[in-house]
Symmetry: C2
Subunit: 426 residues, 2 copies
Amino acid sequence: MTKINSLRVHDVRFPTAATGDGSDSINKGDYSATYVELTTDGPHTGTGFTFTNGRGNEITCAAVRALAHHVEGRSLADCFSVDFVRDLTADVQLRWLGPEKGALHMATGAIVNAVWDLRAKVEGKPMWRLLAEMPTAELIACVDFRHIDDALTPDEAAAILDKGRDGLADRLAAISEDGFPSYTTSVGWLGYPDEKVRALTREAYAQGWRAMKMKVGGPIEDDVRRAGIIRAEIGPDALLMMDANQIWGVGEAIDNMARLADFDPYWIEEPTHPDDILGHARIQQAVAPVRVATGEVAANRVIFKQLLQADAIRVMQVDACRVAGVPEVLAELLLAARFGVPVCPHSGGVGLCELVQHVAIFDYLRVGTSLDGRMVEYVDHLHEHFTDPVRTNNGRYLVPQAPGYSSDLRAESIAEYSFPQGPVWR
Amino acid sequence: MTKINSLRVHDVRFPTAATGDGSDSINKGDYSATYVELTTDGPHTGTGFTFTNGRGNEITCAAVRALAHHVEGRSLADCFSVDFVRDLTADVQLRWLGPEKGALHMATGAIVNAVWDLRAKVEGKPMWRLLAEMPTAELIACVDFRHIDDALTPDEAAAILDKGRDGLADRLAAISEDGFPSYTTSVGWLGYPDEKVRALTREAYAQGWRAMKMKVGGPIEDDVRRAGIIRAEIGPDALLMMDANQIWGVGEAIDNMARLADFDPYWIEEPTHPDDILGHARIQQAVAPVRVATGEVAANRVIFKQLLQADAIRVMQVDACRVAGVPEVLAELLLAARFGVPVCPHSGGVGLCELVQHVAIFDYLRVGTSLDGRMVEYVDHLHEHFTDPVRTNNGRYLVPQAPGYSSDLRAESIAEYSFPQGPVWR
C-alpha cells in the first residue's frame, strides 16, 4: 500500500498583474499557486494546490508546512476518513487561525487535494471517474457532516449518491461526445478598454461561446456602458453574467442591479460581502428572476449550507481548492443537490479550470445528474503550465482522460516561476 | 508629527499546553502572541498583537510581514481613516486570503492595534480614555461601513456616540470607584479533574466572583456532573456560564442544553460553528431564556451584523485582536448598541484581558452606556509578562491608567519566550 514519504511546497507566481488580465473591482493579482507535491514509496507523486493572488502566497505556503506533519509518513489508505479531515481542520492548535477559513483552510485544501490526486493516479483514473465509480459508503465516509447535519444527514446524502447511479452511463456517453457546457470570463475584465471588450466578445461569440461573464462594480455608468456593448455583440439569446466581486453593500447591489436589469443578466455574482448570508438573501429576493451566484470565496460548507437554507443563491459556485479539498467539495455538491440548486464551479486563476472540470463532471454523473443550468467557468489563462491542460471545443470542456486531478504543473514552469528565486522574478 | 519607521514582529509562545490550562473541547494550546512593535521617529513604540494557540503563530507572523509595507514610513496622522483600514483589509493581492478572516485578518488586527496604541501613548492617554474623549466625527471616520450599512448607517452610529456623551462623567466616576464587573473562566477547563474544579470554584467564590464559566462539550454526562459540582458550590444566585467551543451541531446543541438547563445556565457560549448564523438563531430560539453568546472567533463585523439581525445572540463577545483592531471593534460595539445587545468581550489567552478592559470601559462610557448584563471575562494567566497588567479586586477590573492599550510585553518575556530561539523553547 502506498505510503506518503514527504511533502514539498512550492511558491509559484505568474506575473499577470502587469497585463490587466484578472483584474476586477477588488483584485489585481499575480496569479499564484501554493503547490504541494507528495512523494511516496511508489511510482506516483500526488499534487495539489491552492490558488492565491500573488503577495501572500508565502503565507499559504507557511500554512502548508504547519500542516505537513499530518500527512508525512502516513499510509495513503488512512487518508480517506473523517478522522483524516479533522486531523487537519480541527488541529487543536492551528484551528484557532480559522476555523475552517482563510489561509489555513486554503492550505488544507492544497494538501487534501494532493492526497486525492495521488489516489486517482494509483488507481489509474481521472478524478471524475474515481469519484463517480466509488461506492456510496466510501464517499460518505470521507465527508465531515458535523455542522451541516441540520441541513443534510449522511442518510440523505447516501440516497442522493445511490440515486446518482441510475443513468450514469448514459450521462457519461452524452458528455463524452458533446463535452461539458461552459462559459467564458475572458471578455470583460475591468482592466480592459471598451474596444478590447468589444473585440474579445465578438471573437468569443465566433468561437461558439453563448454565455459570457463581465465584471461590474466600477462606476455604475461604466458598467452600464460595457453591458450595452456586450449585449449588443451577443444578441438577445446568449447569456450575459455579471460579477461584482463583493464590492457592493446590500442596498447598493439592489440599486445597481435595477440599472443593469435592462441588459437581461443571467446572474449577478458576488454582489456583496461573501460572509453575508442574510444580505445575499435580501438581494436574491430583490433581483429575481435574476439569479444570485456566489462561492469562489465562500469559506466552507457551513457558509454554503446557510446560503442554501436562506434561499440566498440560485447558482452555487464551489471552488475546488479554497475549501478543504475533495471531501468538502463533495459535501457542497450534496448540499446543492439537496436544495435543488445548480452548481457552476468557480474557475480561472491558476489551474482552477483543470480541477473543476472534474468536479462538474462528477457532479453531473453522480450528484446533480442534470446539465440544466450547469456551466463551468472558462478562462484562457496559464493552461500551458500544466501537463494535462483543459481542452475545449465550441464552448465546451472535453472530458479529461489522464489519471489524477489534472493538477500537475510542468517542472519547467515550477522552476521558472518559483518565487523569489525563479528567473522570472529575479 | 510622529512617523512610523519600521515594523518588527516577534513570535512569542508560552508553553501552556502541558498544564491543561486553556484546554477545552476544541483547543489545547500553547498560548502565543504575534507581537508587533512599531518604531517611530519619536520617543514612543506602538505595540499590538494577535493571540494564537501555538503552532501556526509563524503563519500570522508571515501575514504581518506581508502587510508591513502599508505602515512602514507612514505618518501616524494618516492611520485613522477608512482609507488606511482598506489599505490593509482590501489589499488587491492579499485580500484573496480572506477576505477579512483568518490569519490575514488577525495579522491586520495586530498592526492596527499597534497604530492605535502608538496614538494613545503619543496623546498620553489610556486607550479607553482616548476613545471616550474623541469627537464623534473622528471616531466615525475610522469605521468602514461598507457591508454593514444595511444594519447601521454612519448617521445612526454618530447618534449613538453623541448620545453617549450624556452622563459620561458619572459613569466614569462609578467604575473608577467600583471597578468593572467581570467573571472568571479559570474554574472549569476540561483538562481539570473534578476535585480541582470544585476547589477552584470554592476559591473563586471566596475571592468574590459571582459569575463563573465552565467548559462543556465533552461527553454530556461529564458536562452534567461538572455543572452540578459548580452549581452546588456557588449556590442558586451566582451566574454560571457554559462554553461549548463550537463542538456541537445545531440539533446536538439544542438537545444538550435541554439536559444542562437544570443547572440554570446564564448563557451558552459558542454552541456550534462560529460561521453558522442561522444555526445560532435556531439555538437561541430553542434555549431561551438562556442567552446564546458568541464572538471570540467571529471573523469580522459582517458576521456580527448578521448574528444581531437574526436575533441569534443575546450576548456579543467581541475579541480585540481577531478582527481588524480598534476601528472594527468600534463598528461591532456600535452594531451591538444599535440592536440592544450587551457586549461581554472575549478574554483570556495572552494579553486579551489587558486589551478588552479598555474596550469594555469605552463601551460603557460612550456606546452601550449601561452595566446591565456587561461583564469582562477574566482568566488568570500570563499577566506577569505585561508591563501594565490588569488589576482586579473583588471580581472586578480596576480602571487602567497608563497611556496606551496595555499591550506592551516585558522585554525579558519576549526574549525568553521567543520561538524557536528563546531559552524556554531551546
